[in-house]
Amino acid sequence: MSAAERHHARVTGVPSGRPMVFAHGFGCDQAMWRFVAPDFEVDHRVVVFDHLGAGSSDLRAYDPVRHASLEGYADDVVELCRELGLTDVVLVGHSVSAMIGVLAVARAPELFAALVMVSPSPRYVDDVDYVGGMTPADIDALLDSMDSNYLGWSAQMAPVIVGRPDRPELGEELTNSFCRTDPWIARQFAEVTFRSDNRADLDAVRVPTLVLQCREDAIAPPPVGAYVHEHVRGSTLTVLDTVGHTPHLSAPEQTIAAIRAYLAGLA
């Protein structure tokens, strides 16, 4: 099975355009990009995919050893790009995938032209002289909650047909049909994500980098975005006027505009 099949990768847009690869973060799947990625299809080759364990990925390909660290996920991204024959890639990573992007760029610098980090955090837990926004106890509580709130985290609720007159394309979808994750893999992914510390890797980024930071974010608060901006050489920091951890959902227009403005500046 190819990497594209494993990751349920979808390639759209202009075949001759510059490739943009969108990597979703913890908790959801490629559907997260549905308000942002289509905008780039007019002038880019757009690739969205699911990390193993999320969405429609092939769960059998999940390897507890390989995916016990973010490096394994970065290898997945590199493998996917190589298989699709992509170069000059703009890699857009949300949340933990921003860090996966950092690692992927370090692994295969020849593939990537730019990195867009959406709500990144190199370390979620506070440290000496570093504010990550969470305490170790918070992470334990999170993991405990994942253990106890099994049904909630797996997001497998009673299916109800919903009608959305304003978004007819959703009419046939089931309630909570997005962001389905394998609960066991989600638990592993949470552990890998929230216990990771990639501060040292930021220094190795050698491609133009845009950091997108929400005005308020409980998971990656503004000081964290500032830290990333400081430690990635020549990076650009754009603060979006929205609240939460997912600006591509809460403020898709701002997100698109910020990315387009940055890419225009590179050219």
């Binding site: 908790g27 308000f35 709130n149 099994y150 985290w153 609720m157 304003d166 909570n176």
Partner: protein
């Protein structure tokens, strides 16, 4: 019984007033409204009552996610909010709200986004249901599912083990599977496998009673558990546990139940257990009996890491594993014993073939050692009892490089009755001695000096079976089979095989020995009966030969005799008694005595035959015989001949060689009847030849062919004197290989 339908619809007008505010605030669920960024703008009383929170602390100040537990907040950001954005609504998501008093309230939350449609901000309307009971149900469900998953993963592990057990063809393979089975299933550090061995498998210390005898139902030492495999741990120093031991291994084997023992120091078992576990700080030891049909075939000892508890499910899994392994073991050991039986039969058949092909006794023993080493043992020593004590006939080692050392043992350290060697002990006790393992101290007692001990150690004398050679109640000798430390210990089956082999050898040895006795006696008799050289007879030249069949040195029933008579004539005879043994020699002696007596009294050859036939029953002779008797006058050459079933005599003269028409009766001892007598003349220069059928008879051809050949060869020997004629005939007709005795008597009248 029929029900009564309501006769009247409720009258809405008489229902109490329900204001919208009341409906909102007293709803059976919490009701929250928030702006697009989650800021609370409206909260109903139900929610406030459930949580103990105050409206003024919430509205316009807090976001919905602020009310959640930490895990819930992260879930809100990573799952709930994105879902709400993408779908416009979420249904029945499980979250926990933190109450004012810090306790948590499990809730199910549904939310829907409502567009402000230009007249105001987008709003999110959220209902919150108390999910305390549902959460409990979910947790039960979760616990059940986790337990199912855990047991499913155990079942998978067990299934794998069962499949591997099914594929294991031999006991050894089964043991290997068992040894490695517990590791993955229980995160065990390692395990050891012990198999039940029937008694007499030898304590290392033979004690004053010496090594053990395998006789008796369970042997003197009782059943034991023997270590056969280990994985993940160093092999324990103690490799044998008595089944009556107080160690939990033995207890598990006895009662067929899984035993779990606590860490050393916490139980009474600690003192006794330490030698059989090797991992320092081992926390828990699970002893799993390997059971088939209610019988423990062994024990699997699983060492679990410190702090690792063994749940009831895990214990029952271990029990299942033990039963599966027990069945596989039983099946494999059946197959093993079938294979071993086939091997044993093949081995014994080969041994029998070898023994049959041996040319003499020593050869027999040599070949036997060749068969036994290395198939049965690494070393084979054979001692034979003689008048002078045991003589070490054979010593062989499976490793040619070590053969010189064994040769040295054979040369310098043959057993002496009363010493501590296995051979001497077995000879003294008259019983099979079996000791699977001996240690240096034991060897020191069994050897004569330091060099002897060094040789025993260097040749790898690690265990032995010593089997006496018993035949007809007599002790003929002893075979000692020894094995090196690398070879699996001798089993009861090996001992049985050694015993059967020894029986075969004892039979051969007994036969050879009886033969030896008879050979010596008949040799002595024949020495008396066969004159070494006939006396010189005036007027006659004589040649005599006696050649025994090669296999039976010097022993035979053929004879010749020459007797000068008082009247100047000569009586002579050549005969052939059936058989080659003592009886044959005795019969020959009697025939000779009778014939000599009769001839001395003046009887003719025919009379001798008739009288012998007549008196045969009286003489009590057991064997039949053929013979030619004759009387010759050397002066005239007149000769009279009579035959009893014997090949016709041959005359060699100037005309050539020819068989004389001496028609004989049947064999002596068969019938009584008048015997014809032939008379004729032996001319000067002619030779009369009497012989036994060994000269002319070959198995592959008829007698007449052999006789024609005799006549042809003899015709060329006219010029020969009797001695050289005998040599000529033997060389031409018999050669080196004889299957029968040959006796020749040649009488020649010299030319004047």
């Amino acid at each position: 019984m029929t029900g009564t339908p309501p006769t009247q619809r409720p009258d809405a007008t008489v229902l109490p007033d329900e204001s919208l505010a009341e409906l909102y605030d007293d709803a059976p669920c919490g009701y929250l409204t928030m702006t697009d960024d989650g800021t609370l703008v409206r909260v109903n009383e139900t929610f406030l009552r459930w949580t103990g929170l105050r409206r003024e602390d919430l509205v316009g100040l807090r976001r919905f996610s602020d009310l959640l537990t930490v895990g819930g907040r992260i879930y809100h950001e990573t799952h709930y909010a994105p879902l709400l954005r993408m779908q416009g609504q979420v249904r029945e998501v499980a979250l926990e709200v933190v109450r004012a008093d810090g306790t948590t309230l499990p809730v199910l939350v549904s939310a829907v986004r409502r567009s402000g449609e230009g007249r105001g901000p987008d709003l999110v309307r959220t209902t919150v249901f108390d999910a305390t009971h549902r959460r409990r149900y979910e947790q039960d469900l979760l616990a059940a599912r986790r337990s199912a998953e855990a047991s499913e993963s155990r079942m998978r592990a067990l299934q794998e083990v069962v499949e591997r057990l099914a594929a294991a063809a031999t006991s050894t393979e089964v043991v290997d599977v068992v040894a490695s089975a517990a590791g993955p299933a229980l995160a065990a550090r390692g395990s050891t496998v012990w198999l039940t061995r029937p008694g007499a498998s030898g304590a290392p210390d033979p004690g004053p009673g010496g090594p053990t005898s395998p006789d008796g139902p369970d042997g003197p030492d009782g059943d034991t558990l023997a270590l056969v495999a280990w994985t993940g741990v160093e092999p324990p120093a103690v490799r044998r546990i008595g089944l009556d031991s107080s160690l939990p291994h033995a207890a598990a084997a006895r009662d067929g139940e899984v035993h779990v023992v606590d860490p050393p120091g916490e139980g009474t078992w600690a003192l006794g257990l330490e030698p059989v576990t090797t991992t320092p700080g081992v926390s828990r030891l699970a002893l799993v009996p390997l059971v088939a049909h209610g019988r423990s075939l062994g024990v699997l000892a699983v060492e679990l890491p410190p702090g690792r508890d063994l749940t009831e499910t895990a214990q029952s899994l271990l029990g299942t594993l033990g039963r599966q392994a027990g069945q596989a073991l039983e099946r494999a050991s059946l197959r093993d014993s079938e294979a071993a039986g086939a091997r044993r039969s093949a081995f014994l058949l080969r041994a029998a073939t070898v023994l049959a092909a041996a040319t003499d006794f020593r050869d027999t023993l040599e070949r036997l050692a060749e068969v036994a080493v290395p198939e049965l043992a690494d070393i084979c020593l054979i001692d034979i009892v003689t008048d002078a004590g045991p003589v070490r006939m054979v010593g062989r080692h499976g490793d040619p490089a070590l053969q010189p050392l064994v040769d040295e043992v054979v040369r310098d350290y043959a057993p002496v009755l009363g010493d501590g060697s296995p051979a001497a002990l077995a000879l003294a006790g008259g019983e099979v001695l079996w000791q699977p393992r001996v240690d240096v101290e034991w060897l020191r007692g069994a050897t004569r000096d330091q060099r002897h001990l060094d040789l025993a150690l260097a040749t790898g004398f690690a265990g032995f079976v010593a089997v006496p050679l018993l035949a007809e109640g007599r002790m003929l000798g002893v075979i000692t089979f020894a094995e090196g430390p690398e070879r699996p210990e001798f089993t009861r089956e090996d001992v049985e095989l050694a015993r059967e082999l020894a029986q075969q050898v004892a039979l051969v040895a007994a036969r050879a020995e009886r033969f030896d006795v008879e050979y010596r006696a008949s040799h002595a008799l024949q020495a008396a009966l066969l004159p070494p050289q006939p006396p010189p007879i005036p007027g006659l030249e004589l040649g005599v030969r006696y050649l025994p069949a090669s296999l039976y040195a010097d022993v035979g029933g053929d004879f010749y005799d020459v007797l000068p008579l008082a009247d100047g004539s000569v009586a002579f005879a050549v005969g052939d008694v059936v058989g080659h043994d003592l009886t044959a020699a005795a019969t020959m002696g009697q025939i000779r005595s009778v014939y000599r007596a009769l001839m001395s009294d003046g009887a003719g050859p025919a009379q001798v035959v008739d009288r012998l036939q007549a008196s045969w029953p009286v003489l009590g002779l057991e064997r039949m015989a053929t013979a030619v008797f004759g009387r010759l006058d050397p002066a005239t050459g007149e000769v009279r001949l009579a035959s009893a079933g014997h090949p016709r005599p041959l005359l060699v003269d100037a005309a050539g060689a020819r068989l004389l028409p001496v028609e004989g009766t049947t064999l002596l001892g068969v019938r009584i009847g008048p015997t014809p007598e032939w008379s004729g003349t032996v001319p000067p220069g002619a030779t009369l030849l009497l012989y036994t059928d060994g000269l002319v008879e070959k198995r592959s051809e008829s007698l007449s062919v052999g006789l024609d050949r005799l006549v042809r060869v003899a015709a060329t020997g006219l010029a020969h004197d009797p001695d050289s004629l005998c040599d000529l005939l033997l060389t031409e007709l018999v050669g080196q290989q004889r299957s029968d005795d040959v006796a020749l008597l040649a009488l020649r009248r010299p030319l004047v």
